[in-house]
């Protein structure tokens, strides 16, 4: 064991040789599916209520997500920042949506991507990068 958490939610409880000490699904209390639907890797998450007090059932990872999503981030980005599998992050997000701390927006489905205006906006944006 190399580092004990000092209470900072960003601190990773890791051992370089052993890998993660806390198995990802301990944080989700064994749950592998979020409480609501399927959450895509590029589903966007934004915090709508940043005031998390001592809510029962919410751990440090929940708090970190609420802090991170001050600006909209995708599930993939949250997972990368927390160094957790995307599946774990989905479950934690389900908790936060249920309690009204974050809002999520599913990406456009394949059929919606047909929208010509979207293509034009992306092309213009890419050209002016």
């Amino acid at each position: 064991m190399t580092s004990l958490s000092d209470g900072s939610a960003d601190e990773q409880w890791l051992d370089d040789e052993a890998g993660r000490i806390v198995r990802p699904y301990v944080m989700t209390r064994g749950r592998t599916q979020p409480s609501r639907g399927k959450i895509d890797l590029i589903t966007l998450v934004v915090t709508i209520n940043p005031v998390i007090t001592a809510e029962p059932g919410l751990g440090p990872e929940h708090h970190t997500i609420v802090k991170l999503c001050d600006r909209p981030l995708s599930v993939a980005e949250i997972a990368a920042h927390l160094d957790l599998p995307a599946g774990t992050v989905r479950v934690l997000l389900g908790d936060l949506v249920d309690r009204g701390f974050v809002a999520i927006q599913e990406p456009a489905r394949e059929t919606d991507v047909l929208d010509l205006e979207t293509y034009k906006a992306v092309l213009n944006g890419l050209r002016t990068l």
Binding site: L41, L44, I48, P72, A76, E77, A80, T118, Y119
Partner: protein
């Protein structure tokens, strides 16, 4: 969407639309390099844990328990104005992770298949996959130093691509070059989708 109670002034704010583009190709062909050269941040890595979907994956005959496989994907982000965010995902290079592609490809605007002329066959699985799935894609030939330069038509023939699939030369390390690859892909995807939107997918 109802954003519910809010203590900040984002209650009615519109979140941007997230769009996914896949960067595929063989191992070491420059997928992460391209993601990194054009992204606004250095590439991030995410792990996706998949359960019981593997076909021929880690065959543990006789073990009845569900199998879990973790794959790592590198990805980057390009914000386009306030309304759109582009996410570029490098597909896992090994063939045994094909089943992840289905989840990744769902809803993707299109795909770039990066090819290296010294190992052209490495891009065949990606080309096959996107052709079969009907995902708009282009082939970007990463011009590695020291590799013999081929004519675009030679490459098109060698990969057995239809005339409508664009083939471009690129240097995945250069931002401007990677940007041009993405522009070509989005133009192609726009053309493909808008011209075929009336027909049901038959492939």
């Amino acid at each position: 969407m109802d954003y519910g109670r809010s203590s900040r002034d984002v209650g009615r704010a519109k979140l941007p639309t997230a769009i996914k583009i896949l960067i595929a190709g063989g191992f070491g062909v420059g997928k992460t390099t391209m993601v990194g050269s054009v992204s606004e941040t250095r590439p991030l890595r995410t792990e996706e844990t998949l359960t019981d979907r593997g076909v021929g994956v880690d065959d543990l005959s006789g073990i009845e328990a569900k199998k879990t496989t973790t794959v790592a994907m590198d990805f980057g982000r390009i914000s386009i104005g306030e309304d759109h965010v582009l996410y570029l995902f490098g597909t896992p290079g090994q063939e045994r992770f094909w089943f992840v592609w289905d989840e990744l490809a769902l809803g993707a605007m299109g795909a770039v298949v990066i090819a290296d002329t010294r190992r052209l066959a490495d891009c065949f699985p990606s080309v096959d996959y996107f052709e079969r799935r009907g995902t708009p894609f282009i082939v970007a030939v990463n011009c590695f130093e020291g590799a013999r330069q081929y004519d675009i038509e030679e490459i098109r023939m060698a990969v057995d691509l239809g005339p409508s699939t664009p083939v471009v030369l690129c240097d995945a390390r250069r931002r401007e070059s990677s940007k041009n690859v993405l522009v070509t892909l989005v133009e192609h995807a726009m053309q493909t989708r808008t011209s075929s939107s009336q027909e049901p997918a038959t492939r």
